[in-house]
Subunit: 141 residues, 2 copies
DNA sequence: GATGGGGCTTCCAGTAACTGGAAGGTCAAG
DNA sequence: CTTGACCTTCCAGTTACTGGAAGCCCCATC
């Protein structure tokens, strides 16, 4: 119950799950504002800063880019935000995730099929090598 | 029907679907050996080189790392390879793909759920922001 | 008082796999 | 002779960190 307790970066790291290095990196890259410093030039953080960093960590864990996180943060702080702006960001991200999942899934299925058809013994015959050797390559994007 | 025709990098690019820049990059990073040069110091390639680059392109399109592609290439060239070595590489890659797909799928589901519950209008209330604000962050890996 | 151990600081480099761009050489056509 | 389309090398930027070096600050101990 100390509303104005100032934390050092290691404590914030423990509270948010983010490495200290990453917190400094977020500051350096402008995703969060520069931390205040105490007499030792050490960074100090408030509970609000911890909340902000938790927000960032959570958005990152959902796969949003740092650029997106920046926009989400400003929407988060904007009491007059329109939820459609947040939703639009989320939907763009969703589309991107779906595309990436589909790409990986296609690779996965091909690999699984090839691996399943490969004897996996000491002989050289191998459908995986044959596929790589012969099949035309797919276009990306 | 010219078995010893020498191609320039642009032609190889057209034949393999790989940008010239990427072919040079593969050479520089040691994934393929240095191309012979003609009198102008231009790189020249044989049909075998084209085959090798197609192999590389295809392996890359299946998501193998360049390091893996290097190993696959040496297995490809090894007439005494054991198919189990190829298969092992593929299975490790498969595991990695599955993990990445699962990670993305989890994100995707969360985002889809949040976006679906968001009104997406001009009002500020937004379950997406609330989730980022409040929920504990998941551990990666 | 010297020393040791954390934690903090900055700065530099490396990761993966390219991609973009600058500056310049070569060659054939018009 | 100049243009245009190739080719060359080299450097920088991308994404989101992560590792490591060198050095300060503070506290505890011998």
């Amino acid at each position: 119950m100390q509303p104005d307790s100032e934390l050092m970066i290691g404590e914030v790291a423990a509270l948010t799950g983010l490495p200290s290095k990453t917190i400094r990196y977020y500051e350096e890259s402008g995703i969060i504002e520069s931390a205040r410093r105490n007499d030792n030039r050490y960074r100090t953080y408030s509970q609000i800063d911890v909340q902000t960093l938790r927000f960032v960590a959570h958005a990152r864990s959902l796969g949003f880019s740092l650029k997106d996180v920046g926009e989400l943060l400003s929407l988060y702080r904007d009491r007059n935000r329109a939820s459609k702006d947040v939703r639009r960001l989320a939907l763009v991200h969703l589309t991107d995730l779906d595309r990436r999942i589909a790409d990986l899934q296609a690779m996965r299925n091909t690999i699984a099929d090839l691996a399943q058809r490969c004897h996996g013994d000491d002989r050289p015959e191998c459908p995986i090598i044959e596929e790589l050797e012969g099949a035309p390559n797919r276009r990306k994007r």
